[in-house]
């Protein structure tokens, strides 16, 4: 049953007591929209639906908000405003879609797992939406309630707790299918009235994100991060590095391609014509590793493993991957097939120019140079003679030189394809 009288200006039919106090509910929405102007579009796009089966307030993925009349009667307006913002946050942050994805990826099924998703999603929301004009209800789930640190994503929280004594008080918690993706029996479904289609939902989320990006000063850090990533989730660096490397090695001169160097097997059928034949030239990859003190061994190890795995996947052999360790001066060129112990020597400052020279000067010449560095280095002035992929370990505020406080390290040149290597981003 809907609570807005859609087309009838007359008063709605009298409902059995306790009737939903729509004025109170809308007052709370107005206060929420005033306290969080950047969420106003989303708040007004939510369609309230009276429901006696929801415990408090709940949303579905079609942007309907189911409201219990008893809950509205018992809750002061300022707390209701917080609940509005809480529920709309579930929808904006796509918790139902992310819940479904996590359920598929990790094989989490059943009501208990969905309750955990709801709790994890609440933790993600509640740590930064209250305060500054919005009252925090006394009984909301916070990361600290579960002994977890604030500021993480639902997917991360989900790994960190199980249902148990800590969560016993939360079994009544139910933010609806919009929060965890599990259909409820009160849901009106995709065909019910006042639902938003997928495109309309995206449009609302996009407008909210745009509003936050346009005036970033108004929104807290958590929302700004959401707005940045809502429609361009960062990709895991492994995939990006793989794509960059594959593109580099699939260029001419490496990999499977046609060559006129030998006649094709089809030549017999076309006498007199010279046809190209398929030849494999496995890509030679040279990895220049920045071994200055600023890059940790663990980071280097995982990146090097990744490069080796990818170059093997594109048809390279172990002996086709060579490694040059480089700080202020370049070390020897090591073949990966020598195996176990490649000495990563160094530790001082970096000058990658010598690393480049060493890698390019080795025989046979590499098809691709992969540089793993934190970027605190001078770069070669001219484009090297083969494709270059830079795996960059991001450093925030680490570029400070005591002798030269104005020193700003060069950014990687534009002839290189740059992939930022770091922690796996969350899927917001």
């Amino acid at each position: 049953m809907t609570t807005h009288p859609p087309e009838t200006p007359a008063a709605p039919a009298p409902a059995p007591a306790p009737a939903l106090d729509l004025d109170k509910l809308l007052t709370a929405r107005l206060q929420a929209a005033r306290a969080r102007p950047y969420l106003a579009t989303a708040l007004f796009a939510l369609h309230p639906v009276e429901s006696r089966r929801v415990p408090t307030m709940a949303v579905d993925r079609h942007w309907r908000c189911y409201v219990s009349p008893a809950f509205v009667a018992a809750t002061p307006e300022e707390e209701l405003a917080g609940v509005w913002v809480h529920e709309v946050s579930h929808l904006l942050r796509d918790h139902h879609g992310r819940g479904d994805r996590v359920a598929r990826e990790r094989g989490l099924h059943g009501a208990g797992e969905r309750l955990r998703m709801n709790i994890a999603a609440d933790c993600e929301i509640n740590d930064d939406i209250y305060g500054d004009g919005l009252a925090r209800p006394g009984d909301v789930v916070l990361p600290s309630t579960l002994g977890l640190t604030a500021g993480e994503l639902m997917e991360d929280y989900l790994r960190q707790f199980t249902l148990g004594p800590y969560t016993r008080g939360m079994v009544w918690l139910d933010c609806g299918s919009g929060a965890d993706g599990l259909e409820r029996d009160w849901d009106l479904g995709p065909d019910g009235a006042h639902g938003l289609s997928e495109q309309e939902r995206d449009a609302v989320r996009f407008r909210v994100a745009q509003g936050i990006r346009a005036r970033p000063g108004d929104a807290p850090q958590g929302w700004r991060r959401w707005a940045e990533e809502a429609f361009h989730p960062p990709q895991p660096w492994r995939e990006l590095l793989g794509a960059a490397l594959r593109t580099a090695v699939s260029g001419s001169g490496a990999g499977d391609d046609y060559t006129y160097g030998r006649p094709a097997r089809r030549s017999a059928g076309v006498p007199g014509a010279v046809l190209p034949s398929l030849r494999r030239t496995p890509p030679r990859v040279s990895v220049v590793i920045d071994t200055s003190g600023s890059v940790s061994d663990a980071e280097l190890g995982s990146a090097l493993l990744e490069v080796t795995a990818i170059s093997r996947a594109v048809g390279g052999r172990r002996d086709m991957v060579s490694v040059v360790s480089c700080d202020a001066a370049a070390g020897r060129v090591h073949r990966l097939c020598r195996g176990e112990g490649i000495p990563l020597t160094g530790g001082g400052g970096t000058d990658l120019r010598s690393g480049f020279a060493k890698a390019l000067g080795s025989r046979p010449r590499p098809d691709v140079v992969v540089v793993l560095t934190d970027g605190q280095t001078p770069w070669p002035d001219s484009r090297p003679s083969c494709r270059t992929v830079v795996g960059l370990f991001p450093r925030v505020g680490a570029s400070w030189d005591e002798d030269d406080p104005d020193y700003v390290p060069d950014t990687p040149p534009d002839w290189a394809r740059v992939v930022t290597i770091g922690a796996e981003p969350g899927a917001r």
Binding site: T41, G133, A135, A203, F231, R246, G255, D257, V270, A273
Partner: protein, 407 residues
């Protein structure tokens, strides 16, 4: 089936054949399919389409359905098992090459396609072919040439590729190439697959262009794209800057032209916004595409001037956010040209909005409208009807004050 009910026992293969017949006995049910509808429109518009999808998720089945609905014979060419000369033409040496030249002979399927004059050519597994084959194929897709042959206009081409994350010996589109395609990512719906394996496959009803709407569709598409690009000139051309967006759709004059075509086709076919959303985002990218769609939504909203002309008979959108956008636009229109009659009409419209929908939406526009008052203007009597909204606003103020006091 019944012939072997006689004395001789049926041969083993006959029994196997019976079992296969039973297995193939499936039915279909109508089911809206947004992906297929988008693909149909793009193919009808004769734009190069690139389907991104994992192997084995029913791209070929979808193409079969598309071919049937467009009444075109389907030719499937698996790119990865061909050589570049199959697409650029095999050199055939004649009697006197120096005099007559060496013609590049096209493969048989191309000859048949050209002879038929029409057909749907599906180039599968584009991304697993060696680079030289890909280069030849792209010439085929973009220039419609195979050796010495030119494909007639009745032939439509669709290509398919695996996403770069799963392509083993991968390949990636360079930005200029990516810009020439409509990118559609092909996904499967587990529910549909389960139901299909249970015996009922979906049958999509495909869009039909309405001959009476063609002129209006072109006009609408031109207005939509031009109005949007006038407001957002930086989006006319923007090369993808980050590694993430390389090889995907991005905005340029070429892709905006494709978008315009697609909007016209979707409008003429009466497709809904979900279909258009897939097409537009697949042509100019997510960000610019979503912005264009949002601007289309605003084009759909009633014109503030018309609302001010007839506030009593105004039809306001039911969705709260759109309704508020309309009311804001009306107040902005009054601010742009403040006149007594327009101010009164705006109050009447707000009162009408308060009567027919949620009162909290009216509060902000009403507050703004009140600030536009000139000294000599009297408060109109219609403002009485806004008391519920005013009361709501006051209660919200009190609630906010309680939050501040409680800190």
């Amino acid at each position: 089936m019944s012939s072997h009910a006689l004395a001789t026992p049926p041969s083993r293969l006959d029994v196997a054949g019976d079992l296969l017949t039973l297995l193939r006995d499936t039915s279909t049910e109508p089911r809206p399919d947004v992906q297929l509808e988008a693909l149909t429109l793009a193919v009808a518009a004769d734009l190069p389409v690139l389907l991104w999808g994992e192997p084995g998720i029913g791209k070929t089945a979808a193409l079969n359905q598309l071919a049937a609905s467009l009444d075109l014979p389907l030719t499937t060419v698996i790119a990865s098992v061909h050589e570049p000369s199959d697409f650029s033409g095999l050199p055939v040496v004649g009697d006197d090459p120096a005099e007559q030249g060496v013609p590049m002979a096209p493969p048989d399927w191309a000859v048949r396609l050209v002879r038929a004059g029409r057909g749907l050519l599906f180039l599968d597994e584009l991304s697993t072919a060696p680079p030289a084959v890909q280069a030849a194929l792209l010439r085929l897709v973009l220039e419609r040439r195979i050796g010495a042959l030119r494909l007639p206009p009745g032939v439509r081409i669709v290509a398919a590729a695996n996403p770069r994350a799963s392509a083993a010996d991968g390949w990636e589109l360079s930005p200029p190439l990516a810009n020439r395609f409509v990118h559609l990512s092909w996904t499967h719906d587990p529910e549909v697959v389960v139901r299909g394996l249970g015996g009922t496959w979906p049958r999509a009803t495909l869009p039909r262009l309405d001959p009476d709407r063609l002129t209006a569709a072109v006009e609408f598409a031109r207005r939509a794209v031009c109005a949007f690009l006038t407001a957002r000139p930086p989006l006319v051309h923007r090369l993808p800057s980050s590694e993430t967006r390389r090889g995907g759709p991005w905005p340029s004059p070429r892709s905006w032209d494709m978008t315009l075509t697609l909007i016209a086709f979707a409008t003429a076919a009466g497709s809904d916004r979900d279909v258009l959303s897939l097409l537009v985002r697949g042509t100019v990218g997510d960000g610019p595409g979503l912005e264009l769609l949002a601007s289309l939504d605003r084009l759909d909203l009633p014109d503030p001037e018309l609302l001010l002309a007839d506030p009593a008979g105004a039809e306001l959108p039911q969705r709260g956010d759109l309704r508020q956008a309309v009311l804001d636009a009306v107040v902005a229109a009054v601010r742009a040209r403040p006149e007594r009659s327009r101010w009164d009409a705006a109050w009447a419209l707000l009162a009408h909005a308060a009567d027919t929908g949620a009162p909290d939406l009216v509060v902000v526009p009403a507050t703004t409208l009140a600030t536009l008052r000139r000294e000599e203007w009297d408060v109109p009597p219609t403002i009485e009807r806004l008391t519920s909204a005013v009361a709501l606003s006051r209660r919200a103020d009190h609630a906010a004050a309680r939050v501040t006091a409680g800190r």
